[in-house]
Symmetry: C2
Subunit: 146 residues, 2 copies
């Protein structure tokens, strides 16, 4: 029966993600902060001075992902990278004043996006969506496929 909707779920997810990505990119054009960069700003807003690996884990990024993101954001003066005094391999990440401003703007922008995301759906329905999205973490774990 049904089975028609899920046929397209993979595709719909992909498109939705890109639509949102584009929207945020266009929205924050002047701001200069992309969606991925906002993510790291939010993390540091809660845990300024986090290790790169911690931030990467919080954002579900692998080492190359967080490394590149940090490079770009450091170049943009949004964050600062300082050596961990206790571990010669590790770096801690800190918001710069510019980064704090960008974070505040991102927070404001997120409010509008959240409003749109929930538009036309009840709290209960959004709850289901959130649960579905969260289920990916167990259904498609990092590391093991087989």
């Amino acid at each position: 029966m049904t089975s028609r909707p899920d046929r397209r779920l993979v595709f719909l997810l992909n498109v939705a993600q890109r639509r949102l990505q584009r929207w945020v990119a266009a929205k924050t054009e002047r701001n200069g902060v992309t969606a991925a960069q906002s993510g790291l700003l939010f993390i540091l807003g809660q845990r300024d001075g986090a290790l790169m690996g911690e931030a990467g884990a919080a954002l579900d990024l692998g080492p190359p992902g967080i490394s590149g993101l940090v490079d770009r954001m450091t170049a943009a003066r949004l964050i600062e990278r300082r050596a961990d005094p206790d571990d010669g391999r590790a770096w801690r990440l800190w918001l710069t004043p510019v980064g704090r401003v960008a974070l505040a703007q991102s927070k404001a922008g997120l409010a509008e996006i959240n409003a749109r995301l929930a538009e036309g759906f009840t709290d209960a329905e959004i709850e289901i969506v959130a649960r579905w999205l969260t289920s990916f973490q167990t259904k498609f774990p990092r590391g093991e496929v087989q």
Copy 2:
């Protein structure tokens, strides 16, 4: 009250998309066909000989996106690009024998992914998710932001 779940929806969507992407990439490693490439194979499976623009629209890709995808898939011998006899600007895309085999494999793989995506959710719930994902098309339209 609630309002806590949607806080993270943007992020959850992003992570879910990447998790699935990685999964598919690892899954189809030998196959050699990525998720994006499967998308085009599916389109051509239904409409062999589609114009690049048509295929791009069906996949919600802009001109540069479909152009690059076609380049890579042509190089991989999955599809063929032939000039449209009626329009000197346009190209039509055709599955190669290799592409047909890859499409068949992708179809099989999609079945497994669909099963996982629906795991733990009722048809009604999946319906809600599908509706939510589809709503992005109107909430975050191409072209206009403001």
